[in-house]
């Protein structure tokens, strides 16, 4: 299927009633998750994950993708209205977005975000149409040794890019790999490290781990330091329209942000976050009104938001074509696919065109829905911020408990949830990055499969791991990353963490 027909086919999948509802519910839930404190997008998506098990794969994935971009939109809403970034990708939006609110232009800022996401979404979908088939064709020539190199080096690079100390990031990663070995292994069906416990023999369930690490631990952070933030303003509908000047200044920023975000999103790392930092710097550098930045420059909102959205869309290319998730959130999407027995990879476009093109098209449709729905609903989202903590936090605890329990009706998983809540809190306090852990839990079984496959096919020859030019090139990159990290660590300590988690 050529890209244009693929996209048309995808649209036909995305606009079926059930998939439209999935995208809508996902996007609205995601926005609420992005707005509310104490429950980040990763924990929110993990809670929805078991619900998607009962759906057809494409519908479940569309709902999860909806949560993903909905949460980004919600995060920007709180950045602009109350100066609290709902998630790390909207930190940059706070700077000029909240300044605009103070000057009475909150409505325009929100509109610039929504329209910018739409513009970025549109352009990125075109980018995806151009890139995916090319990448997929290249990846078709990959053997298991190449995939082994790709997944392993991918994990190393990812834990490196999130910043912080290399040793601590690798600790999180390997701990995740270790957890993933618990339970029955896929190749020969041997039960490992289960201590004769039925629950452990089925492996450690990802939902309680992710909700514990990212939801319960976040809630601990909220309760230890309760602050009453500023009350959000009431934004009227007619204030939502940007002025002619605001339009003129936003448009080039959107385009620059999109191009920057999309190209960065194809690289490993939490690029939807990093691209917002880069875009802000670019906007400031090219602007004729540099002095306005930090005081409500609309480009400072338009650029990073477009970059964030474009990068998020672009990240679906490596996820679906190579099976490589670049953030904790995308790792959950990968888990949702694998539960359904669908192997993401170069063959996905051919074998499951409805998933690849359907999800891509639904992200586009979802952005249109967000544009139409969220601007009028901005009052509702702002009022969610007024829900008092003594109501919100008990609800989050209860939903987390019910969500963790209901995956396989197991009380054991409640202990896992609480344990990982505490582990997450302690490790975050001690500057350990948690995102690589979730990535490793999801990727671990694949890494093992590729490793054993390669050995089997090469009859035990260890040289197989470096037998192809592709694998040698990928390992070369991995070694380079480790060397640079090591040198930096020895020279001046580790660089400051850029993004604690995604």
């Amino acid at each position: 299927m050529d890209p244009i027909n693929g996209m048309l086919y995808g649209l036909s999948v995305a606009v079926t009633p059930v998939n439209l509802v999935a995208a809508l519910v996902g996007a609205l839930l995601g926005t609420a998750i992005g707005v509310l404190p104490g429950l980040g997008p990763v924990a929110g998506a993990a809670l929805v994950l078991p619900v998607t098990y009962t759906m057809p794969p494409v519908t479940g994935l569309i709902a999860l993708a909806g949560i993903f971009y909905g949460a980004m939109y919600g995060g920007s809403t709180t950045s602009i209205l109350v100066n609290i970034p709902g998630e790390t990708a909207s930190v940059m939006t706070c700077i000029d977005g909240y300044e605009m609110t103070k000057r009475g232009r909150a409505g325009a800022a929100l509109a610039v975000v929504a329209i910018g996401s739409f513009v970025a979404g549109t352009l990125s979908v075109i980018g995806v149409m151009l890139f995916s088939p090319v990448l997929s064709n290249i990846a078709l020539s990959f053997g298991s040794a190449d995939f082994f190199a790709l997944t392993t080096v991918g994990l190393i690079v990812l834990s490196r890019v999130t910043g912080g100390s290399f040793a601590r990031a690798m600790f999180s990663t390997v701990f995740g790999l270790l957890m993933a070995t618990v339970g029955m292994e896929g190749t020969t069906g041997v039960r490992r490290f289960d201590f004769d416990m039925l629950e452990l023999s089925q492996g450690i369930e990802i939902v309680p781990v992710a909700v514990g690490l990212f939801g319960i631990s976040e809630m601990f952070f909220v309760v230890e330091d309760i602050v009453t933030g500023p009350k959000p303003l009431v934004v009227k509908l007619r204030e939502l329209f940007p002025t002619r000047e605001e339009w003129a200044r936003s448009l080039p920023a959107w385009v620059r942000g999109t191009i920057l975000g999309f190209s960065m999103g194809l690289l490993p790392g939490p690029m939807n976050v990093l691209s917002t930092f880069a875009s802000y710097r670019v906007e400031k550098a090219v602007s004729k009104r540099r002095e306005e930045f930090g005081h409500g420059a609309i480009e400072g909102v338009a650029g990073p938001e477009a970059a964030n959205n474009a990068a998020a869309t672009a990240q679906f290319v490596p996820l679906l074509v190579l099976g490589l998730p670049f953030s904790a959130m995308l790792a959950l999407l990968l888990a949702a696919l694998m539960i359904k027995g669908i192997q993401p990879g170069p063959l996905l476009i051919v074998q499951h065109p409805e998933i690849f093109w359907g999800v891509m098209a639904s992200m586009y449709v979802g952005n249109v829905m967000l544009l139409v729905l969220n601007l009028p609903l901005v009052g509702l989202w702002a009022s969610l911020l007024r829900v008092p903590l003594q109501i919100l936090l008990p609800c989050i605890v209860l939903y987390a408990m019910i969500g963790a329990y209901s995956v396989r009706n197991s009380e054991f998983d409640l202990y896992v949830l609480v344990l990982f809540g505490i582990i997450g809190y302690v490790m975050r306090k001690l500057d350990f990055d948690l995102a690589p852990m979730i990535l490793a839990v999801v990727l671990g079984p694949m890494i093992e499969k590729y490793m054993r496959q390669s050995l089997f096919l090469a009859r035990g020859d260890l040289g197989v791991f470096l037998s192809t030019p592709i694998s040698r090139a990928i390992w070369g990159v991995g070694v380079l990353v480790i060397l640079i990290a090591g040198l930096r660590g020895l020279r001046a300590g580790a660089p400051a963490p850029v993004a604690a988690e995604d």
Partner: protein, 164 residues
């Protein structure tokens, strides 16, 4: 870095050291389990133990890395000191942690409904101490709406205890 004590390590450094040592202990136990319980197979027909051996070995390396980073390298001057809550904040945090742990333990015994009511009471009181009447009403409203949403509407099977 703040408050380097006589041992030369900040509180955060000590914590990281402790995690590294825990990681070492974990990897030793893990490797021991791998060696004693799993079939190794051969390189051409790798058994279930091969990959855990690699992961366990890596765990030893990264744990040593975390330990050595703290013992050998100079501390990063940009590192923020460990911020632990004090006073009322600490009591609130410990109360909430206790409630969450108690929830997981009690739900087997009391069932979903009663555990939910009790933990909501505790959480509401911990987060915003106020009049008992208000606490009880808020907690009951939370429990009831959760019950209606998940049990009545969504029909999620939830644990039943001895009393329900």
């Amino acid at each position: 870095m703040r408050s380097r004590n006589r041992a030369g390590l900040s509180r955060k450094g000590k914590g990281q050291l402790a995690i590294g040592i825990l990681g070492l202990l974990l990897s030793v136990g893990y490797l021991q389990q791998t060696a004693t319980t799993l079939p190794v197979g051969s390189l051409s027909a790798p058994g279930a133990a091969i990959y855990p051996f690699v992961v366990g070995g890596l765990m030893v390396l990264v744990s040593l890395g975390v330990v050595l980073e703290r013992l050998v390298l100079p501390p990063d001057p940009r590192e923020r000191p460990l911020a632990l809550p004090r006073g009322a904040d600490r009591r609130r945090l410990l109360g909430v942690v206790g409630t969450v742990v108690a929830y997981a333990v009690l739900v087997n015994l009391l069932g979903f409904l009663w555990t939910t009511v009790l933990s909501s009471l505790a959480l509401v009181h911990l987060i915003k101490p106020g009049s008992w009447r208000r606490t009880v009403i808020t907690a009951l409203a939370i429990s009831l709406s959760t019950y209606v949403l998940f049990v009545t509407i969504l029909d999620v099977p939830l644990p039943r205890g001895y009393f329900w």
